[in-house]
């Protein structure tokens, strides 16, 4: 896969609980700002936990122009916003693009959960006749990338890859493949998820939600914090980007996807599948572990994930694991589900161009089993030529994506 045309990132856009758009988001990350607070979008009084990372200041009407912003779901709104921001960041107008060769590939965990939640409310109240046409046209998860494509007028391949918490990486990998094989000239790739009571209920039931903050890799970590968000990366062939004088963030050098085939909600106890994904990504990129300058971790803040992820990194990097900084922005954003690895991919792109890496905040005490350099609490200047983005999902879906600085 290191053969073939080079694929580059020329635009990034994101909507998060700590900032919307590249500049606001990056500054907030480097400052260690957190997006946690008591859940507002539904009543958590019957729950034992109440913490979430919701986005409070998002105005869909600022970004949704063609479609009716109020008719489409929140995940679609977030995805459209991220897409428009990425296009603008790339210096492109939709009118300048060969739309037949422009596509959208998105990832998600829940799609548009509010529609099924509303359906269930009607069901429980015996009011099924109140279910309108919008349920079937706005709920199924593939409508998220469809709405982005409709909004921008893109008519190339449009696909949803709902591989849960690793979905963003899967979407970016597929988009890169489409570009490499000549099936598209421009791809918007990323992920979106909106705050869901179903997701919250499930993680609360698993005892996975932290009561106070998210502190990945810390000895006293108590779990993850569900969040929401979206990110889109604009990908194109390097030769096209250079021809139009675009600013290039980085290249998508390669990826590795694997399946644990072990357990639905718990990772393999020896980090076996995660390790295979890391090795495959390095192999595909033609790189060795010592080449990697920064790892954007999955780092959810649960006791198990952080321990097993550390095992996987040590297994594949050996002693080098102690030399490469690895941080988790979920310490600030919480777990944005299908958007997570897409948002984290934009962080890799920025780390490469800015030469700075975000911290893992809320870190106070070392866990003897998590003894790597997690960039505790303070952002750091660090030259990043090669960044790895890891993400792991329910169903044992593992993913590693590698970005490299683009040589002139």
């Amino acid at each position: 896969m290191s053969a073939g045309p080079k694929i580059v990132v020329t635009g990034i856009g994101m909507v998060t609980s700590i900032g919307t758009g590249r500049e606001a988001f990056w500054n907030a990350l480097l400052a260690g700002r957190c997006g946690f607070g008591p859940v507002r979008s539904f009543d958590t009084s019957r729950f034992g936990v109440h913490l979430g990372a919701e986005i409070h200041d998002f105005r869909p009407e600022d970004y949704v122009r063609k479609l009716d912003a109020r008719a489409i779901g929140r995940s679609s709104q977030l995805a459209i916003a991220a897409a428009r921001l990425a296009l603008t960041d790339a210096g492109l107008n939709a009118e300048d693009i060969d739309t037949e060769r422009a596509g959208v590939c998105a990832g998600t965990t829940s799609g548009e959960p509010h529609f099924i939640e509303r359906f269930d409310d009607h069901y429980v109240q015996g009011e099924l006749k109140k279910v309108g046409r919008e349920f079937i046209t706005r709920y199924p998860c593939h409508v998220v990338p469809c709405h982005v494509a409709m909004e921008l007028g893109f008519s190339g391949e449009t696909m949803m890859i709902p591989t849960a918490c690793a979905a963003g990486n899967y979407a970016i990998a597929h988009a890169a493949d489409l570009l490499r094989s000549g099936k598209a000239s421009i791809m918007l790739a990323g992920g979106a998820d909106s705050f869901s009571r179903i997701t919250y209920t499930g993680f609360a039931r698993l005892g996975a939600i932290a009561p106070d903050v998210c502190r990945p890799f810390d000895r006293n970590r108590k779990g993850m914090v569900p969040g929401e968000g979206a990110a889109m990366l604009l990908l194109e062939l390097k030769e096209n980007a250079m021809a139009r004088g675009a600013r290039i963030y980085c290249e998508v050098a390669g990826y590795g996807l694997s399946c644990d085939a072990h357990h639905m909600t718990a990772a393999h106890p020896q980090g076996e599948g995660a390790a295979r994904a890391i090795l495959r990504a390095l192999e595909q990129s033609g790189l060795a572990p010592e080449d990697v300058d920064y790892i954007s971790a999955h780092g959810t803040g649960t006791a198990t994930n952080d321990r097993l992820e550390t095992i996987a990194v040590k297994k594949t990097f050996g002693r080098q694991a102690y030399k490469v900084p690895i941080s988790s922005i979920k310490s600030m954003l919480g777990h944005t589900m299908g958007a997570a690895s897409a948002i984290e991919a934009t962080v890799c792109a920025m780390a490469i161009t800015e030469g700075r890496i975000p911290p893992t905040v809320n870190w106070n005490e070392q866990d003897p089993e998590c003894d790597l350099d997690y960039v505790p609490n303070v952002a750091r200047n660090h030259q990043v030529d090669i960044a790895m983005n890891n993400a792991y999902a329910f169903g044992g879906n593992n993913s590693s994506l590698i970005f490299v600085a683009s040589a002139a």
């Binding site: 034992g48 039931r205 357990h263 639905m264 909600t265 718990a266």
Partner: protein
């Protein structure tokens, strides 16, 4: 409620979740070591037991359940007050 009745009902919950014949489950069976269950199944059993006996355990209590005896003890502690 009699402890034997509780134990029988707990084993029925285990059978419902795992398919393991309740009659073959020993009173001291450990969920992981003896019944080869994963964390999701163990949690599902606990939820089934909670529903069956109409009580709610805390996350701490649930995470310390390792075997049939632990579950029975949990029911005795939490549910008997309401059921008896």
């Amino acid at each position: 409620m009699d402890v034997d009745v509780i134990r029988t009902k707990v084993k029925e919950c285990i059978q419902k979740v795992t398919g393991i014949d309740a009659a073959t489950i020993s009173d001291s069976a450990a969920y992981v070591e003896d019944l080869d269950l994963d964390s999701l199944s163990i949690l599902e059993i606990s939820v089934s037991v909670e529903e069956s006996f109409k009580f709610h355990a805390t996350d701490e209590e649930l995470s310390s359940v390792r075997n049939v005896e632990d579950t029975v003890a949990l029911v005795m502690r939490r549910a008997c007050v309401e059921v008896a």
